[in-house]
Structure formats: structure tokens, C-alpha cells
Assembly symmetry: D3
Homo-oligomer: 240 residues x 6
């Protein structure tokens, strides 16, 4: 099965991180994984959730949304429906955990950073793009706090990025687009740090159950893809 | 009181309409009034609300949303709060009425067009930008229906645009930005057709009540501003 | 087109303000614009919203409701539906703004007055009756505060009243009833102070867009109607 | 303990039923038990709930609401809170059961009658006034259906009325007002038919548990009170 | 009409109270009235509702729920529906009142006890089983507070139990199962203390209104049934 | 770090599946993983979701809930809060996917089976117990459909079970209890079929990111644990 535009099974779609796209946010990044576009903003608030008051620790959370016509056919607005779907909640919990995994929560005082990931256009992999772009927005917000003297060092231990993999017609593939995703036998998401360690692994059979060896092969691909993403993040952040 | 960047009291901010920004929507437009950026998409659905079934008439509605960090400080997500604010509902009802006022509802069969206006960045005038950009997205969706042979003519009688005016420190001004808006003594929004007629007039005292003559002066400004917006819409739509 | 009961196009329906209709409320008024009946109560609370704490300023808000069978056919109860409609929220925001526009918010301490406008029977013009009757209830509540020594003077700069106008079969008419309203080409609401200044102007095309001259003519009618309403308010309040 | 205005322990407060108070409803009644005023409307709908479709039977339900300032201090609007309280639901279920108990549900076709009981002013006994006034509104709606030829006979087997009783400082009392109710050791509500049978009995200890003999004595009072209410209902309905 | 398994009209179904069924709760009891099984837990919280802060008094409330397949056919989960039904709220208010009626609220400091009654399997009488089992859980929670030295005496004046009665085919019966309940002409619930006094009486005609004598007969049965329940409670609690 | 009761790092807690615990459900199972107790019922409904109408395919979904005092300290009831938490939705989606992965959806007509998993007592691993017990309830429901002649064969391809693993103080451990779970550096859940294939893998760093080798070691443990669970399921179902 040839991939779109002759992409190899172990190749990412074209990836870009455009920084500072918001006039207001402390950090912001428009991330593109092919036709999947996510606007990520990081907002610093001078207050932590009640369970952290007095702890001298900060907190990082994420929220996720999708514009109604980000999708092929229009999806009803969650604000109109009166609640966030289970899928939305699952994704924003995942993004939050991923970002907290690389953040030194004792390194920026009793502050909360809220990372909003809003999908402007969807073509598969919105959650992995959100994590990868959310990290860039978060970094920029901390850089801002450093620039104004609130923190001395950026309280991030390493980078974090995420990518999806899948088995499509028997072939393990990296970074599925929507069309591939809807045909995949197995669908997996991997969250990986800048030094190649695992933060989260989620693999699910869409049809028949899968073999341990298939998980291993997808993990190989994911580590390769995340390494590339981390390089692109660093370039966007102008880190040496 | 000098305006930002030496803008005259009867001048619009820089305005742009960028068309076809969405891979999926039948019509789409990114509209900018200065630093106010609204992504407008028009989605065609093959079904009308129940009160129109069997009527051979179509319907046009609008929905409005704001990304959490479109604003100076972060605003809570309406989907998380579980309901749309009164302000949101007021705006989306206004946008819908404005678009229906220029649409021949008997001219595109029993179809519904949903125009989504999502504010990516806010700096005053989000509702007037939504109407002005929403019209462009709606036009493009009808153009698409014409291209695929669903309609013979574009069922729009004329264009529609909208602009805000205000009295700031005693001076009637066109197209207020957020800073001006928050200082204005009177705040008004005008929805005007391509042939200079009125669709909607909304003026409100923010502080002291105002004089009839002030309303007249703001109306002068609005007609001028909307005429300019209609020219820009036509240019974006490549109409002669 | 003759109006019901031979009413002239510039004539109000029979209007009455009956004061002190509630045993419990600090101020109350049953207002009738023809067959539109609204029960208005003003409740004083010894607490302001959080954004005003410590400001030495008070606040005035309004809430609006309609009994299920106030209308020709029964309308579902908003409490059962679990939320207030966009229309309800739009009206109660309008009533609140109108009342605050004539209130000296620094003149009655850190207190909130909540004006409830509940439509017992509807026949067009419920929002304008709510503003006009809500003002009377608010005045009475402040009179009560003065009587018990809480304020020295009634913190109202002037009166406020509101009326609807419309273009019905080409004729500008004052104070539309439900039947006229449903046929009107243009529908407008005007909020006017006791000294003839404008607080809010809202005009909307129901069908074809309208001319500036039509707005002018409706404004003439509205100023006449509101002047009459203010006289009736003063009589009900036994002001010289 | 003397009652207000020298009322005897077995005396009702002044009771009135004013019929046809709504321009729109098929049946309506403003009922007063002293300072408790409830507006009752009966609305006929040409559709039954789904569980009765095809059954040739009709249905009667009730809804209950209280204006925010019906009470001594203002109560938040249930529509704003987004849900009806447990108390509201309990009362409207009670009113519905009481009305259905005397209605021949097979006597008016597949129609639903919704009886809305809205408390304009509360001073104890709002649920018993609602049942008593709701019956009058329901009767009038059926009379309307008879007048227009939809039913041949009024499908009500007998009247229904309700009254509260209580033990106040050891004395069994009929028809408690709010002040008595808040001091009562036992509080009970009785729903009784026109021929003196029981539809519903609800008695609850507010403080110490009570004796069977006390329940008996309250039942004596309730039967007396309901007999008087049924006479007043008949007079209001101009029945011989 | 013979009852199931030859049960006499004045006989309870087999009743059991199994204590300490929860590893976590301060007090717990699995109560069975025949095939009706309710898991009751009592949770002590070191905080009272705001209206009691500073009063040196405690509070007892109850919540009620039913597993989706506790019933003959599956019932939708209230958490998924987004609200508790009127029936649920009515029952949990009843259980709370019943437990508070025998509790010395000034006898355990500013603490709240929440008694959760969750129906694992339903066959009629779930509210009366909840009260009877809830009392046992509450007693055990107080016993726990005594054991750890928080209170010196168990702050309960007497026991409380509840049972349903009904008139089935003209015969007054004690403790109806679901099948009997659905056929009953009259349905009543009685809440009775350990010393035979009444806490709450609720009787309702399901079909034709009923006679006073029938209420009396049901009361006889209820007092007998509750006396038996109180003995079973004492046995389960190992009280002499 | 010794485990409770001397449990080996690769040992499950005592596991039991008690079948047919519900009088009403088509299939039911009380599953215990140590002190974690989950009541699972499978309810057959003669209707599929709208997206499957006319497809001749059935559907299997799961819902998950927790009794308020299943946990160490009481958790608020989701029905009272008015919505299901993100965690609840995430779990019930997982359980549904796991059960569908082994079900032949074309093998039981247009029917839906709803598997309710209600946690009576929680001590870690409630989602894995729910999947494992939910499978048994589902099997029994299908057995019931076979017994009454609705299906010829049980439409399940193989069994499915699930278990959690974690790295606790550096040691990979099988089937964590609550205390271990709260200390674990890595927490993972594995859903495995009766023939040892993977349905879902979810691993997350709770603190520091983890190594690929650790994921491998946890997978070894999970395959061992699930094989034991499948044996216990077969024994409970009396399969050879």
C-alpha cells in the first residue's frame, strides 16, 4: 500500500512549529503535522489548584478543543452540547500528563500554566501534535518568565514529543493521517522524552488483537519519529 | 486623543479577508480587523431544522466561539463550563440574522448552512468581523454549490458587512479596538448591506446616556466603513 | 392597516403601573402595556458580586422569566429544560444595562439590587414593559432604603423607560402588540431616559433591509412614547 | 398560642378562587389561601407522552414554580441554576398525582393537559393551594373542551382539594401560614376528594416523633378544611 | 389473593441486616427485604454544611442510588443522564429526614455523616429498606466514633425503621414486593421509631381514592412490621 | 519491598468470579481482585444505536461507576455532580473496546449488550477487574441467548482479561493494590485475549520517564497474569 505523496512507512509527514503566533499568550505555537494544524497557547496564572496551595509547587494542565469544521464533516460544538466528550477529556488528560512528566513542578513557584491545544484543522494525529506543539508553547512561557525575572532557569528537564503509529494492511507505519488511521488494524500513540525515554505508551487493536512483535516494531518507529520531532522543536526554539 | 498608529477617527484598521483557509469546509475565510482574527467556515448540511421540513426553503445559522487565550487574560472554555454565555448566544444570534437578511432562503433547496466564527485572537470588534468574514465564507459555500451544479445562481441578494463605532472622549470613532472600546462612552454596532441599507443597529450607552445627534454621526461613520468592507469582500471573492 | 381598537400609529396601548403588589419585596410593580403583564420586584441584598468587593459601590442586575402559559401556546419551562434560552439572557442583560444607566452605583453602599421581571401574560413588548416597570420597582426599593435610613437620597439620576416601534405594512407604529410584531418588516426597541436621552437603540430588519429615514421616524415615535411612560411612572410613584 | 387575626385552630385562612385570569390558557385560576397566591393555568395539548400513544387515553401532569421573590428573602431562579430542586419536583409530582386521581383519563381522547402552578407570593401551603387551584383550572379547561365539542362530558369524577395541618405548640391547627409552619412540631398535607375520600396523606415529624392520635386529629381538621375548599371551588365554577 | 411462598398478609418478607460489609466506611450494612438488597454505608466527614458552621451541631444526610440493572429491565444511569430523577431526590430527602429524626444533632460535634443507600437489586420497598439499613450503618459509624473517643455516647435517641403497606385486591398487606406494589390500589410508607412513634406517614391512592379506615388498618400493619425490624436491627448490632 | 501478605512480585491477588449474582440481569458476575470488588451485569436490549440500524450487526458497550464509599474517603456521587468524570468515561470506553475486540458483532443480530461495571469496593485495579468480570457477565448473557434459541453459538472468539502492572521501588510488580499503585513509578494496564494476544496496552510514567526494557518486563508479567485470569474465568463459567 503506497502512502500519500510516496511517503515511506517510517517517515513523518512534513512537520512545522511556528512560534509566537498569539499577541496575548505568554507562549504560543502553531504546530502542523501535514494537514493537521493545532494552535497551542500557554497561559501563566498566579494561582494553583487548591490541593497545591502552600506547597511551593506549580502545576501544568492542558485543555483540548476542536473547531467544529476542523473535521471532514462538521462536528457539533461541545460548548453548545453543554459538555466535553469523553474523547476530549481523555486527550486533555493525556496532554497534561505528558507535559508534567518533563516539568520540574518545584521550579516556578505557586503558579499554574494552562496549555490550550485547539485543533484548527484535523487530519489524524491531533493528540500527538498537541503534545509536541504544547511543549513548545510551554517552553516559551517559561522563557518569558525567565526574561521577566520570575524564574532563574527554565524548569523543564528535557523535551517531550509524541507520535502515532499503526499497522496498516500489515505494515507498521509512522505518523498516520486520517485516512490511514481509519483503516489501521492497530493504532498506537507514544510519548517520548528528549533523551529517548518513554512517558506514555497506548496501543489498541482496532480489529483483530495484535502480537507483541508488532508493538515492538511500532515502538522502533515511534522512537525514530520523536527524535526528529525533538530536533524540529529545538530548531523552532532556536536552541543550539 | 490620538488613535494608535495615527489612525484617523473615521478610518478602519487594516482589514484583510483570506479565502479558502480550510481543507474541509465548503467555504472558509480568515478575516482580520487589525489584531482581531476570526476563522469563519461555512458548512453545508443536507437537512433543515424541523420547522422547515417540506417547505422547500433552506436555512442559515451561525455559531460563535472564542479560543480561551484569544483574550488578554485567559477566559475559561465554554465547553468546560458546560454552557455558552449570554454574550456568546447574543452574538451568534446576531450573526445568523445578518446573514439571513441577504440570503434568498428559497434559492438553495432544503439545505442548512452553518457558519462558524471562531475568534483566534481578539482586539475589539469580534462580532462585526464575524459578520463580515462569515459573509465571505457563506458566499464561497454557495459558489461551491453552484460549481457542483446544486444551485444555478448564488442565492445572495447583496453583500452584508458590519462595523462598530463609538464615542471615545467625545469623539465619534470608527472600528474601535479593545482599548478604545473599554474607554468608549457609547458603543454601537451596525450591520449594513452592499447597497447601503440597514440590517441591524445596536447602540448602547456605556456611561452617560447619549444624544440623538451622536447616533447620527456614528451612523455616518458606519456607512462609510461598511462600504469599504464590501469592497474588500468583493476583492477577496474576485468579483468584478 | 387599522390598529386594534382604532389605535393611532403613534399611540401607546393602555399603560398602567400598579405599585406595592408584593408582600415581601423591597420594591414591586405590576406593569401592563395592553395585554402584556409583567410582575417586577426589586430585592436588596447586602452583598455585591466579587468584582466589586471593597469598591464601596453597589450593583443592579435584572433577571427575566416567562410563565409557561404567558404565551399563546404553552412554552416549556426553562427550569425544566435546565437552562435559560439565548433570548432570555439577551433580555435580562438589556434590562440590567438600562437600569444601571440611570443609577448612581456609588450612592447606596456595597449592596446589590436584583430586579426580577416575570411575564404573567405576553402580548408583545415584554422587554420594554420589563424595563419600564423594573424602574418603578427599583425606585421603590431605593425609597424603602431611604425610609429606613440606609441612604440619604434616592441614587437615581433620572427615570428610564423603553418602548418598541416597528414598520408594519410600511407604516411606522409605536408599541407593537404580538400580532403587529409578527408582521412587522422592521422591529426596534428604544431605551430612553427621563430627560429624553438615549440609553440603548436596537433595530433589526425582519425581512428586507431598511432605510435610515425609517430609523429616524421610529426614533421620533419612541421619544414620544417614552415621554408618556415617564409621566405614568411618576404618577404611579406619586412624584410631583 | 393565638393565631393571627384571632383565627381558630380549625379555621382556614380567607380563601378565594378567581377564574379566567389568563388571556391564553384553556383554563386558569388565581387561588389565594391568605397571603399565598398561586396562578394556575391548564394547557391542552393534542399529544400524549409516548407511553400512551395509541392507548386512546389522555394524561394530566403538573409543573410547579416559584417566582424568585415570592419568598421572604429572594430565592435563586431555578432556570438560572440549571435545574429544578428536589422540593419542586416532589411538589409537582404530588400535584399531578392528585389531579389524575379524580380524572377519567379515558374520557378526553389522546390529549395531555399540563397544569402549571406558579407561586406569585408564598406564605405557607403553596402545594395545597396549587392542588386546589389547579383543580379549578383543569375543570375550566375541560369545560372549554366541552364547549367546543371535543368532549361530551367533563371527565372528572369528583373534585379534589388539599390542605395542610400541623401541631403547633401542641395544638393541632388547620391551614398553617409560613410562620406557623416553621414552628410546627408536625407538618402534614392531605389531599381529599369532593366526596371526602383520601387521595394522599403525608405527615412528617419536624422535631420529636408524633403519636397516632395526633395524626387522627389532623385528619379530622383536614376533612373539614377540604370540604370548605370544595364548596368554594364549586362557587367559583358556578356549579349549583 | 395468595402471596408468594404463602406469606400472610401481615408478614414481612425474610429480612436480614449484614453489618461491616465495607472495608472503608465508618459504618456499613447490607440490608435485604426479600429480593430487595441495599448496600448502606455511613461516612463521617469533619465538616458541616455552611448553614451550621459555628453552631456546634452536626448533620446527617442521605443519598440514594440504584445500579442500572437493579431493576427488571435496565434503567439508564443517572450520572450519564446528568441529573438525579425527581424520584431519587424524593427518596433521599425522606431517608435523611428519617435518620435525623432520631439523631441528637448536638451530640457529635460539627461533623456530617453521609449515609449512602445504593440498591444492588430491587424488588419493591427500596426506600423502606434504605431507611432501615441506613439506621444500622449510622449506628455503626457512631459506635466507631465512640470507640476512637470522639463521642462519649452514641447520639441516637432510639432506633428508626420503615416499611411499606398497601391495599392489594382489597386486602391490606405488609411489605409489598414489586409485583404486589404494581397492582396495589393504595400504597403507603411508614417510618416508625424504636418506641413505636411516627416519624413519617405517606399514603397515596394509586387508583380510586381510599377510606380513612383503610389508612388505619395499614398503620396497624406498619407498627407491627417496624417492631419486628427494630428487633432485627438490635440483633444485628448485638444490642441486648 | 515486601508485598502485603508476602505476595511475590509476579503473583496476582486472590481472584474470584462469582456468577449469577443478579436476579434480573441476563448475565452477571461479582469479580474480586483482592479487596477490589466489582459487580458486573450484562443487559440485552433489542435495539442497536442508530448508526447500526439495518446493518444486521449488534453492539456491545460498557458503563462504569463507583459507589460513593467504595473509596478510602467518600467520593461525591457523579449523578449528584451532574456529570461523569473524565476518568469514568475513559474507563468505560476502555472496557467497551476490550469486550468488542473478542465479540463477533455479526453473530447475535441487531441487539445491544450493555455491560455495567459498578465498583462496590475499590483497592486498585478496578478497570482491569471490570474488564475481566465484564467478560464473564457478557459470556453468560450470550449463553442465555443461546439457551432461549436466539443465537446458535456464543458469538465470542476467545476470552479477554486485563491486569495492571507497575514498577514499584524499581521492581516490576503484577496486579497492584491501591497502596502500591499510589507509590508506583510506572503504571500500566494490559488487555489480553484468551490466546495471548494484545488488545490494549497502556503504560504511563507517574514520575520519571521509563525505559523500554521496563515496558517489556511488565508485559511479561501481564501475559502471565492474564493467562491465570482466563483459567479462573473458564472455571467460573464451567468450561472444560
Amino acid at each position: 500500500m503506497p502512502r500519500l505523496l510516496g511517503r515511506a512507512s517510517d517517515a513523518m509527514r512534513p512537520v512545522s512549529f511556528t512560534v509566537d503566533v498569539s499577541k496575548h499568550a505568554e507562549g504560543s505555537c502553531l504546530v502542523k503535522f501535514g494537514d493537521t494544524h493545532v494552535l497551542c497557547t500557554a497561559s501563566v496564572e498566579e494561582q494553583v489548584p487548591s490541593f497545591l496551595r502552600g506547597s511551593k509547587r506549580g502545576w501544568v494542565t492542558a485543555e483540548y478543543g476542536m473547531l467544529p469544521r476542523a473535521t471532514t464533516t462538521r462536528t457539533d460544538r461541545e460548548a453548545a452540547a453543554g459538555k466535553q466528550s469523553g474523547r476530549t477529556q481523555e486527550i486533555q488528560r493525556l496532554v497534561g500528563r505528558a507535559l508534567r512528566a518533563v516539568t520540574r513542578l518545584d521550579g516556578f513557584g505557586e503558579r499554574a500554566v494552562k496549555v490550550d491545544c485547539d485543533v484548527l484543522q484535523a487530519d489524524g494525529g491531533t493528540r500527538t501534535a498537541s503534545i509536541s506543539g504544547g511543549y513548545v508553547a510551554l517552553y516559551l512561557a517559561f522563557e518569558h518568565l525567565k526574561a521577566i525575572g520570575v524564574v532563574k532557569e527554565i524548569p523543564l528537564r528535557t523535551a517531550v514529543a509524541a507520535v502515532s503509529c499503526g499497522i496498516v494492511k500489515g505494515v507498521p507505519c509512522l505518523d498516520l493521517d486520517y485516512d490511514e488511521d481509519s483503516k489501521a488494524e492497530v493504532d498506537a500513540n507514544f510519548v517520548v522524552t528528549g533523551d529517548g525515554k518513554l512517558v506514555e505508551v497506548q496501543g489498541a487493536a482496532e480489529g483483530a488483537p495484535f502480537e507483541r512483535a508488532q508493538l515492538d516494531r511500532m515502538l522502533d518507529l515511534a522512537l525514530k519519529g520523536c527524535a526528529e520531532l525533538v530536533l524540529a522543536q529545538r530548531a523552532a526554539l532556536k536552541l543550539a
